[in-house]
């Protein structure tokens, strides 16, 4: 298990990506999976950066773990309680002119990962994502 704690800001995305790349390389994950996980981490982290502490600021932690053939990404922050899984998916069958701009990030996360769980524990948001390897 490895983790990185950074300021919850879009500027920290590079640092989070560096951490992720290093862990994914160590785990010898395929390039295809690395690209997918990079997308997942960007989507979730950017949401935290934009909303968790707004208009204030705080830290966010990203944890990477592999055990029993399953990869787990855990995002935690001490921001406003928010369960991303209650967010309604956008209609992806609507015509271009009727589509909402945005709201697709979490949909991608749910499609790429095999499991997603939200918990509020000790004043922290925990968003736990799993993927079978």
């Amino acid at each position: 298990m490895a983790q990185v704690t950074v300021k919850a800001a879009v500027d920290s995305l590079d640092a989070v990506n560096d951490f992720l790349s290093e862990e994914m390389e160590k785990a010898e994950l395929s390039m295809k999976l690395q690209t997918s996980l990079s997308l997942v981490v960007e989507e979730v982290f950017v949401n935290i950066a934009h909303y968790a502490y707004a208009p204030g600021e705080g830290d966010a932690t990203v944890e990477f773990a592999i055990s029993d053939g399953e990869l787990t990404l855990t995002f935690s922050d001490e921001g406003t309680a928010y369960n991303p899984l209650t967010h309604e998916d956008p209609d992806i069958t609507a015509k271009a002119e009727d589509r909402a701009i945005g709201g697709l990030g979490l949909l991608l996360v749910k499609k790429i990962m095999d499991g997603a769980e939200y918990r509020r524990e000790g004043g922290r948001n925990l968003f736990i994502l799993n993927k079978k390897l």
Partner: protein, 99 residues
């Protein structure tokens, strides 16, 4: 991300390279919307593009909405398998013109 703009007659090609993500997507918005405003057809060449996140999808959606509303054409070509998968997961294959 790199944006390389080429004009051939009334055909404009924006060749993108690198990552179209949260950090770089705002850099595409201006050039894409300007190109669509000034030309009947704009081609986005994804040959050298490695990655698109939802921030990139957002800009492509804005371009497509503008094109649809103003009878313009926005065409995307040379889409990699990974990026096409992102388009499929989000239903973008149905609204974008991909060649």
């Amino acid at each position: 991300m790199t944006i390389d703009k080429k004009t051939q007659g009334d055909q404009v090609v924006l060749a993108l390279g690198g990552r179209l993500d949260t950090t770089t997507a705002p850099e595409l918005q201006g050039p894409l919307m300007d190109a669509l405003a000034d030309n009947p057809s704009v081609t986005l060449d994804f040959e050298a593009l490695d990655y698109v996140s939802s921030a990139g999808l957002r800009v492509l959606m804005m371009g497509q909405k503008y094109a649809t509303a103003n009878e313009k054409k926005m065409v995307i070509k040379n889409v990699s398998e990974e990026i096409n998968e992102v388009f499929e997961m989000t239903g973008f294959t149905d609204i974008l013109t991909i060649e």
